[in-house]
């Protein structure tokens, strides 16, 4: 492997994705994101959409919600509820792992 062949990844810190970046990363139109932020289904990341910054966790949540809405024709509120539960499961699994129960 030559050194110049190695791609250097940029670590994305918390609250770093703009509205456009988030919508592009989950292949959804910006309006889809704006609507869900306005409805409180995605975290409110600030005042004006141009100043919004999202975390990688928000991206994970947005992709989950999008998939649930699409696969099950779910209303956004239901998709958000399922995403809440998936996050809860994720946290509990992490706690179980930390306690030695895999």
């Amino acid at each position: 492997m030559r050194e110049e062949d190695v791609l250097i990844g940029a670590l994305l810190e918390d609250a770093c994705l703009t509205l456009d970046e988030l919508s592009r990363a989950c292949a959804a139109p910006p309006d889809w994101v704006i609507e869900r932020v306005r409805e409180g289904l995605l975290p409110a990341p600030g005042e004006a959409p141009t100043a919004w910054r999202f975390s990688s966790r928000d991206l994970w949540r947005a992709r989950q919600m999008l998939r649930i809405e699409r696969d099950f024709d779910a209303v956004p509120e239901l998709a958000a509820l399922v995403a809440d539960l998936l996050e809860e499961i994720d946290d509990m699994r992490a706690r179980l792992r930390r306690a030695g129960y895999d």
């Binding site: 190695v6 670590l11 592009r24 990363a25 499961i89």
Partner: protein
């Protein structure tokens, strides 16, 4: 779906020229529906399987791979145009049978629906890409030429997971990733390439964090830039360490006298160094000690969280038994009192 004019010569000439062996996929079998299933039956079957194989909740072996198959089958069967084309082409084939579509098999179909993105194509099989991968490049009726020539659009972002050892968060890592990447060939076909990337992952990375590789996503259209590749970091389970955000969680086994009297205990860290930690006298099992700034490096760095676990020496010799008996007699201790 409707008849269209003859495709232009360069496109025709290239069709059927590529490609190794493909195996026929029975999408009806994948969804468990009859070939004459209604749209409602297909939707119902898909939802049932989507629930069963949802990668975050399913306990089925290979759920993620199965979910991809189910998504692919649904992408075809839930779209009347793709389904009709698939039905026309797949007549007489058995699942797993070698498959080669005849040249120009799709000359009489036009796919007008939402189509699929390049990111989606990367998730699906070669079989799918062979059948439907050229949709994005199809000339439209009216002779405007390929769609790509008329629109400029940035390529889609791609997503992948990268699994690291916890130690890599301290020292950084280089990982080789193999990705299936859809690419438009000279004739306008979407073909799936396997692309190998060597990626340097900086130190200080934490669970769930994203790493962006600019320009490594889907190619752009009409001269627009490519998308990015977003890697999501996961750590392989470790026998000694756990992480929570940037905090490093470690079990700290101590002898009863170390816990009772206090001690300075060496704690090995993932970077190979050793940190000496003072245990206060009277530390019980389960007590947590926090050493600020000694977790995963970063700005700010995480903390080291130690959980004291008192380990009893076995009473397997005469002398050990005597010591326990002495304690029992002299300490007058009732742990339930």
């Amino acid at each position: 779906m409707r008849l269209i004019r003859e495709p232009p010569a360069p496109l025709r000439a290239a069709r059927g020229g590529r490609r190794g062996r493909l195996q026929f996929k029975d999408y009806y079998q994948t969804l468990g529906v009859a070939r004459d299933a209604t749209a409602d039956e297909i939707k119902k079957a898909f939802r049932k399987l989507a629930r069963k194989y949802h990668p975050d909740v399913s306990k089925e072996a290979g759920a993620e791979a199965r979910m991809k198959e189910v998504n692919e089958a649904n992408a075809v069967l839930s779209d009347p145009e793709k389904r009709a084309a698939y039905d026309a082409l797949g007549r007489g084939y058995q699942p797993g049978q070698d498959f080669r579509p005849p040249p120009d098999w799709d000359a009489n179909f036009e796919f007008s629906g939402p189509g699929f993105g390049h990111a989606e194509a990367g998730e699906f099989s070669d079989f799918f890409a062979e059948l439907f991968g050229r949709m994005g490049a199809r000339p439209r009726e009216g002779g405007f030429g390929p769609r790509e020539a008329r629109f400029a659009a940035r390529g889609e972002d791609h997503h992948a997971k990268v699994v690291l050892d916890i130690e890599d968060a301290w020292r950084g890592a280089t990982r080789q990733l193999s990705l299936r990447v859809p690419r438009m060939d000279a004739a306008g076909h979407v073909v799936l390439d396997t692309r190998t990337l060597d990626v340097q992952i900086p130190k200080g990375v934490r669970e769930g964090q994203l790493i962006r590789l600019a320009g490594q996503g889907a190619p752009g259209h009409g001269g627009a830039p490519p998308g990015d590749l977003l890697l999501e970091v996961h750590f392989r389970p470790h026998a000694r360490y756990q992480v929570s955000g940037r905090d490093l969680l470690v079990d700290l086994p101590v002898a009863p006298w170390e816990a009772a009297l206090g001690a300075v205990i060496p704690v090995p860290l993932p970077d190979g160094s050793t940190l000496k930690v003072r245990i206060p006298a009277g530390a019980q099992s389960g007590r947590q000690l926090v050493v600020r700034g000694k977790g995963i490096p970063g700005n700010p760095p995480g903390d080291l969280e130690l959980t004291v676990r008192v380990v009893l020496p076995p009473a397997d010799t005469t002398r050990a038994k005597e010591l326990y008996e002495t304690m029992a007699r002299d300490l007058n201790f009732d742990p339930r009192g």
